[in-house]
Amino acid sequence: MQHDVVAIVPELMLVAAALVLLLIDPFLPAKGRRGLSWLGIMACLPAAASVWLARSQQFSTFSHGIALDGFAVFFKILLLAVAALAMLLSEKHLARNGRLLGDYYALVLLATVGMMVMASAIDLATFFVGLELMALSSYLLAGFFRHQLRSIEASLKYFLTGSFASAILLFGMALLYGLTGSTNYQQISIAIGSGSLDGHVIVIAVVLLLGGFAFKVAAAPFHGWAPDVYQGAPTPAAAFLSVGPKIAAFAAIIKFFTIMLGSEQARWVPLMIVVAIATMLIGATMALLQHDLKRMLAFSSIAHVGYLLLALIAAGQSHSNFGSSAILFYLAAYAAMNMGAFGVLVFLANSARFNDSLDEMAGLARRFPGAAGVMAVLMFSLAGIPPTAGFLAKFYLFASVVDAGYAWLAVIGVLFSVVSAFYYLRVIVYMYMREPEPEVAAVMEPGGGRSWDLSLGLGLATAVVIVLGVLPAPVLNAAQDAVAKILGS
């Protein structure tokens, strides 16, 4: 019953920062709230440092509920970076909408704690409480602009669908517990591997788990909430919500499906293939039809989830770590490029009367050359064009799929990827080669101040996208190392 607090020091730091934010916020005048974001961002730095210092550790604690292993280290650092970036993007946008409150950063930090617990949990009960902590904070972030009807609608939709997803997931987990008599991943894996359990119930449990996770990562046919939520949520919150929960959910998915249900891959792989193809199909084709950039990015992120599921199939099928490490690298690249793309929308909304529509991007290169340049790099990366992170991430991912013997799936993935290039490049065409309509031109005049933390965030995201595209080795090695050092495999 050793409870080793070392494993949760980073989480405790974030919780402490969140509590301080909640406590001091009511006593500050409106102007004093500027810079509160830095309290949150600065909490992420020592937290990441403490994760890094413990990187060689390899143990489980809290009665085998939490693992401190290479896998957790990779995901915790990635999640902390995502949280810090989200807070960098937020301040000005919150202030412009009259909602500059410390609570926002506290919710981002607490959601991050939930995600970190999800990534390091090796016990169903621990995992589920982490999931709920993340989910509840996310619903609130989506509805943070409560005076806007769309924001409240996003929050309500997210809450209703998310609660159902949690319940479905919990049902699947309850069946696993009923079958195996344990909540510990490793014990469950051993019990299932023995082959003496009721196969029909395992199938039901797998379907329920898959359904619940599909909701959480917005995979078809449970993707319907994503466009509405990302469109309605405050744009910086949408940046966070489109990345953070997916990273945490994929950490859990890798553990659930390749370790806990690893011996049952014959049962879940066919189902996962259907879900992955449907997800890519819906994401890529629906994104073509969108005129609202936030909805376009939402459908594009659905397509990206489809690619990630392909790699999961590879991870389940082959016994090498190729598929899982491709997922980890892809998630890191996806985090930078997707948050950057949302960040450009935040920048435009702060600087002009911008309504996220494609038409308003016309002629952007002349009015906002910096933002247009950043957006162009990110769109190239999302489309998977070298020399960006998106290209290498897709390359490794499809290579892992081919390696696992699913060349035909990789071909389908590449085809959808080609389709997706159309809607990403369309944004670039609008920015650089179109003249804006007169009424749009009037709206898109530069005005309003810049904020240097937003610029810093955009610069960092773009830099990561380019560096990962040119020098992928450190992150790729870290990803391979993380998957190799996963506890209980």
């Binding site: 009259g98 609570d103 902590l133 069946l175 517990y177 008599g181 009721d198 029909h200 119930v201």
Partner: protein
């Protein structure tokens, strides 16, 4: 408790019928009352599983406190009576067969399932529950306090009057 005992069906009916009524009622007050009945049914399920402490807390917290709060919330926020209706109506034609099919599949598979976690613990006591909560599940138990904190923050954020003019 097993599928074969009549008391199982009685207790199940006590949970399921109010749950269906709660969703189907057009008047929110009736829905809330059906929800209270459903909560009492859940307490009965806990009793049949020998989980007396859970049954007691279910009655005290859910039936006693939360339901009353919800009733107050409905009465205080409703502007006009009776005008509140379902907003998921258009999908019910698809939801009904899908839900029924799921129920049939789950019923067939789980009805004949062999669960190795076994039946209700033989000798449950508050002390045993406490020792589980504060030893094996101490971390998730403490983490749940953060979930509650977020819920409180959320209630304030969504419902409180604007802090600044």
């Amino acid at each position: 408790m097993h599928f074969s005992t009549p008391i199982f069906y009685l207790v199940s009916a006590l949970v399921i019928i109010p749950a269906v009524l709660m969703v189907a009622m057009r008047n929110l007050i009736y829905s809330a009352i059906a929800m209270i009945a459903c909560f009492i049914g859940v307490a009965a399920v806990f009793v049949t599983l020998n989980a007396e402490l859970l049954a007691a807390s279910q009655l005290l917290i859910y039936v006693g406190a939360i339901s009353i709060l919800i009733l107050f919330a409905i009465m205080l926020t409703r502007r006009r009576s009776g005008a509140i209706c379902l907003f998921f109506h258009r999908q019910s034609w698809a939801a009904l067969p899908a839900g029924a099919a799921l129920a049939v599949v789950l019923g067939i598979v789980l009805g004949s399932a062999r669960f190795s976690a076994g039946s209700a613990p033989k000798n449950p006591s508050t002390a045993n529950l406490a020792s589980l909560l504060f030893n094996q599940y101490a971390f998730p138990f403490e983490l749940a306090s953060l979930v509650l904190l977020v819920a409180i923050v959320g209630a304030v954020l969504l419902a409180m009057r604007e802090r600044r003019s």
